[in-house]
Amino acid sequence: MFLLDDILLWPITNVVDVLHSLAVQEMYDTESIQSDLKENQLLYEIGERDEAEYERERARLESELDAAERARERLSDKVVVQR
């Protein structure tokens, strides 16, 4: 079928694929948001952040995490080939 095409495109797609998933990871880095959430909690526990500030930050990060998780789900199996 399109065996030739496939082989020709293969390295390019691969690179783009990798770049794309790196971009997704960076843009929607759920792990780093989770770290920020834990840091917020820690700073609150040791008294460096007052409750209002802690709650505000927590709400902000939780909605960011939510958005990032949804975006990752949407984009994770989609490869955009740019040529």
Partner: protein, 207 residues
């Protein structure tokens, strides 16, 4: 009433009933026994338990109460979120995992987990390397085992868990106090006793 059960951990066979609130505010805390093992449980409506702050706190609190109540007892904690359709499915998991549970119970017999975090000041000169070597050496001397945890913040210089004999908690606490004196620019956060999450390794297979 639902026959679903949420499980917190496993202890030596014992009929236990504690008046503590579990996850989703459910209670009382009871046990389901299979031969020489008892699982600590509360009833639950849904097998998918949401990981909220309240629920994770309740999970820890139940385990702490189980460890501390009366003369105290050894507990092998389960990770958050282990819910079972019925006592029967729970027992079959205990049957399948009984060797692992027995071994884990022996490994942590009479022990608790304590956590030590050291947070550097914002403009602090302390480095992780400096702190790790010194602090670890001093805490290892008063504990049985050490586990490293994630350093999830730039400010976090040290984050480790220790398996400590119930009777050695005081000695461990004294070393932590000394650390507070010796690192005046940093904040030492001392937590526990926890169930020994970081020192048991029981994998439960989904049925």
């Amino acid at each position: 009433m639902s026959s679903h059960l949420y499980a917190y951990g496993v202890i030596e066979a014992e009929d236990l009933e504690l008046d503590v609130e579990g996850v989703e505010g459910e209670g009382p805390v009871q046990t389901v026994t299979f031969r020489t093992l008892s699982a600590v449980v509360t009833p639950i409506d849904d097998v998918d338990v949401e990981r909220t702050d309240e629920n994770t706190r309740a999970h820890d609190e139940v385990l702490r109460e189980v460890m501390m109540e009366g003369e105290g007892r050894t507990v092998v904690p389960m990770q958050f979120g282990m819910a079972f359709k019925s006592a029967r499915t729970l027992k079959s998991v205990m049957r399948g995992g009984r060797r692992a549970f027995r071994k884990a119970l022996m490994d942590v017999d009479g022990k608790v987990e304590l956590g030590v975090k050291i947070v550097g000041s914002e403009d602090g000169a302390l480095t992780r390397e400096d702190v790790a070597a010194d602090v670890s050496e001093r805490l290892v001397a008063v504990s049985d085992e050490e586990a490293e945890n994630d350093l999830y913040s730039e400010r976090l210089l040290f984050n480790r868990s220790y398996l400590v004999d119930r009777d050695a908690q005081e000695a461990f606490g004294e070393v932590v106090s000394e650390l507070e004196d010796d690192y005046p620019d940093a904040t030492v956060q001392y937590t526990g006793p926890w169930a020994p999450y970081n020192f048991v390794d029981v994998e439960i297979e989904a049925q």
